[in-house]
Amino acid sequence: MNVDININDISNDDLILLYNKVEDFIKFLDGEITSREVEKTTKK
């Protein structure tokens, strides 16, 4: 991950937005670890 955002310089609103976006993505990744199952492909 290499996002080009200077945390110190962004506005208050953007800081909150950033937090919420990153937190939501971490929750998504958590879901992938705990509930992803094997998916059999039907294509040959």
Binding site: M1, N12, V22, L29
Partner: protein, 539 residues
């Protein structure tokens, strides 16, 4: 992509999309691949968690920076000075030393003992004793000569109070013993204290005269100058508190203010309501002038609203003033009756005491088999009836005293404010007026109403009711409406009705508070950020 125009939202969305795509390209068609996929997800998650930690740290840093703004230390200093100045109430020439000693307020607990418990009554007795001590009178058991029961109880009470426990088992036991013989025991004690005040009135008056001179010497001011200084200090304090950045922020953090009321759309709507034009269309100079008038209007509305709230007190004063009765003469007459009846009472009590020694008498009183018991019981019944008669006379005396003060101190040139200020120190008058107006009001609400009334009286921006004479019949709503219409502010008579005034106050105060925030060291954006960040950081 040009980084200068790409927003933070776009950057993070892009990064997340990239990482999602990388992950979605990984096969998950068997256990081995699934494991490799999950390991990769865990790796990405770790990176994002590390990034989240940096974001959190920055949030904390900003919150700490904003919250590090402290209230102006001059505010606490001014509050202390004002508290010190509170003693100027002793300079008030319109009240007697009974009120300066706060006896009217403390004895009220005994007067309404049936609404309090024994511990509260005993605490009130301790306070009365302290007040007498303060003015140089150290009361002893023998001073409680209203009845043998009063003497018995107070002798034990004083002993126990000296040991630091005025609510000891011994006091409660003594009360228990006496009460069934004399359910009016608390009335006896209350009347005894009232008698002790009258008996020592000259000494107490002298104490307060000396105290007043001392206060004026310390302040270097006379009464009028002291009141003017006190008002000016209160004025300054209100202004400082309204404008203080830390105090403004605190109101938001405590939920007393909400962001919604300060948003552009709300402020715009309120300006349009009051001025009839868009805020943006007004030149800066003119806007400052409007803002200044809106601030004054906020003060006027506070004054008027509270005047309406406490108008029932003013109506009561006016009724007494217009009655033209000679309350002073009545007062003197009642006092003479009290003296006469008390002289008889004390004579009887002395006679009873000399019949037997104190201990023997009490035993006789409680020993039903004694032959002399009937005679003693009769004497006690007579004494009790006399005390109840005296109770009525003292009540009448108190009421007439205050009415006499109202009639003599006010005249046709006095203002509504003069009338309210005059009665503010008279606790019993305020209580009676409140109960007359709100029949089922609780003790706590009586106290609260009096506190709020006395707070209102201290308001330094009173400009309406201190300019209307009690002899005038003025429609205050028209006075206010016309004044602010002349300042180009839209307000109708209907807006000032009791049902509508709160809405008007909300609009006006919203603009005032918005301007206080605008001139402070923080912006609405900072406040909003702190509120959101604290919610996140507390989870």
């Amino acid at each position: 992509m040009d980084d200068e125009v790409e927003s933070v939202r776009e950057k993070i969305n892009r990064q997340i999309d990239i990482d999602k795509e990388v992950l979605s390209a990984l096969p998950v068609n068997n256990k081995k691949n699934l494991k490799a996929y999950k390991d990769k997800v865990a790796e990405v998650k770790k990176e994002y968690e590390y990034y989240l930690e940096k974001v959190t740290q920055e949030m904390k840093r900003r919150v700490i920076k904003i919250e590090s703004i402290l209230p102006d230390p001059k505010i606490a200093k001014l509050e202390q000075e004002i508290q010190y100045m509170d003693k100027i109430k002793l300079l008030n020439k319109d009240i007697t030393s009974f009120e300066k000693m706060e006896l009217d307020e403390i004895l009220f607990v005994l007067k309404r003992f049936y609404k309090n418990n024994l511990e509260l009554v005993n605490d009130a007795i301790v306070r009365v004793l302290e007040k007498f001590r303060m003015v140089g009178i150290d009361l002893k058991g023998n001073d409680f000569n209203y009845s043998l029961y009063a003497k018995e109880y107070m002798t034990v009470f004083l002993e126990e109070a000296k040991l630091g426990n005025s609510n000891s088992p011994k006091v409660k036991e003594t009360f228990e013993q006496i009460y069934w013989k004399c359910p009016d025991i608390i009335i006896h004690i209350e009347m005894n204290f009232r008698n002790l005040y009258l008996k020592n009135e000259k000494v107490i008056d002298k104490y307060f005269n000396t105290a007043s001179k001392q206060i004026m010497k310390e302040l270097g001011l006379n009464q009028e100058e002291a009141i003017a200084k006190y008002n000016s200090m209160n004025d300054k304090l209100i202004d400082m508190k309204n404008k203080d950045t830390a105090l403004i922020l605190e109101k938001f953090l405590k939920g007393k203010e909400v962001i919604k009321n300060y948003e552009e759309i709300t402020i715009k709507k309120n300006y349009k309501k009051l001025l009839g034009v868009d805020q943006k269309e007004i030149e800066d100079d003119k806007l400052e002038e409007y803002n200044s008038n809106i601030f004054k209007m906020s003060n006027s509305l506070y004054e008027y609203k509270n005047y309406l709230k406490f108008k029932f007190i003013y109506d009561e004063i006016l009724e007494i003033y217009k009655s033209n009765e000679k309350f002073n003469t009545q007062c003197n007459g009642i006092r003479k009756q009290i003296n006469k009846l008390e002289t008889k009472l004390f004579k009887t009590n002395k006679r009873v005491e000399s019949l037997a020694n104190h201990k023997g008498l009490i035993l006789k009183l409680f020993n039903k088999s004694n032959q002399n018991n009937n005679k003693l019981e009769n004497i006690n019944t007579d004494a009790n009836e006399r005390i109840l008669e005296l109770k009525e006379l003292y009540r009448k005396y108190e009421t007439n005293k205050i009415k006499s003060i109202i009639v003599t101190k006010l005249n046709d040139s006095s203002t509504i404010y003069d009338a309210l200020v005059l009665v503010a120190p008279f606790y019993s008058f305020l209580v009676e007026t409140i109960i007359k107006h709100f029949e089922d009001i609780s003790q706590d609400n009586i106290r609260k109403t009096i506190e709020e009334f006395r707070e209102f009286i201290k308001y330094p921006y009173i400009t309406i009711i201190n300019n209307i004479k009690i002899s005038e019949e003025k429609d205050i709503t028209i006075v206010i409406k016309d004044k602010y219409n002349l300042c180009d502010i839209n307000v109708t008579k209907g807006d000032l009705d009791e049902d509508n005034i709160d809405n008007l106050i909300l609009s006006v105060e919203s603009i005032c508070k918005y301007n206080y925030l605008r001139h402070s060291k923080i912006k609405l954006d900072d406040v909003n950020f702190v509120l959101q960040a604290k919610k996140i950081l507390e989870v």
